[in-house]
C-alpha cells in the first residue's frame, strides 16, 4: 500500500519538476518550488509511517519551516531585488 502511494506521490513530484524546469517566468518556478516543498513534507510523513519512527515527523516540521522561509525570501527577491 505504502509503495503504491509513494509511487503516485513521486510521479506528481516529477510532473512538478517539469514545470520547475520549463516555467517561463521566475514566479512559475517559485510556485513549483513551493508545491514541491509541501509534497516533501507529506513524503516525510509517509516515510515515518513506513519505518515506524516518529523522528521523521520532527524533520518534516523543520523542513516545512525552512521551505516556507525559502518561498517568502524568493517572493521578496522578485519584488524588490537583493
Amino acid at each position: 500500500m505504502f509503495e503504491l502511494v509513494t509511487i503516485i506521490l513521486l510521479l506528481s513530484m516529477m510532473i512538478t519538476i517539469y514545470r520547475f524546469l520549463k516555467g517561463p517566468t521566475l514566479a512559475d518556478r517559485v510556485v513549483a518550488f513551493d508545491m514541491m516543498n509541501t509534497m516533501g513534507v507529506s513524503l516525510l510523513v509517509l516515510l515515518a509511517l513506513y519505518y515506524q519512527r516518529s523522528l521523521y515527523l520532527d524533520i518534516a516540521l523543520v523542513f516545512g519551516l525552512i521551505g516556507f522561509l525559502g518561498s517568502t525570501i524568493f517572493g521578496r527577491y522578485i519584488e524588490k531585488g537583493i
Binding site: M1, V5, I8, L9, L11, S12, M13, I15, T16, Y18, R19, T25, L26, A27, D28, V30, V31, A32, D34, M35, T38, M39, V41, S42, V45, L46, A48, L49, S54, L57, D58, A60, L61, G64, L65, F68, S71, T72, F74, G75, R76, Y77, I78, E79
Partner: protein
Amino acid sequence: MVYLGYVFIFLGVMAFLISAIGIIRMPDVYTRMHTGTKTTTMGVIFIVMGASCIEPFWAWKLILLAIFIFLTNPLSSSVIARAAHSDGATLELDEFKEVEK
C-alpha cells in the same frame, strides 16, 4: 481504523496528482498558484488525518504539523502572488480587460 487511514492517505495523494496535472495545464501564473496551493493544502491535511488514524500515538505532532501547514501555505502563496503582480505578470483570460478601457 487502519483501513480508514489508508483511504484518507489515498485521497490525499490523489489530490496531489490532480494538483500536479493542474500546474501543467493552467495557462497563467495566478491560475497555477490557485491550483498549486489550495489542493496541496488539502492533500497534506488528508495525509496527516490518515497517518493519525493509523498511528494514534503520534496525533499531537501530526496536528501541530497540520496547523503549521494550514497557517503558512496561504501566506507564502500571498507573498508570491504579490511579487508576481509587481513583476508585471498578466492574466491570460482577462474578463475585465474591456471594462477598464
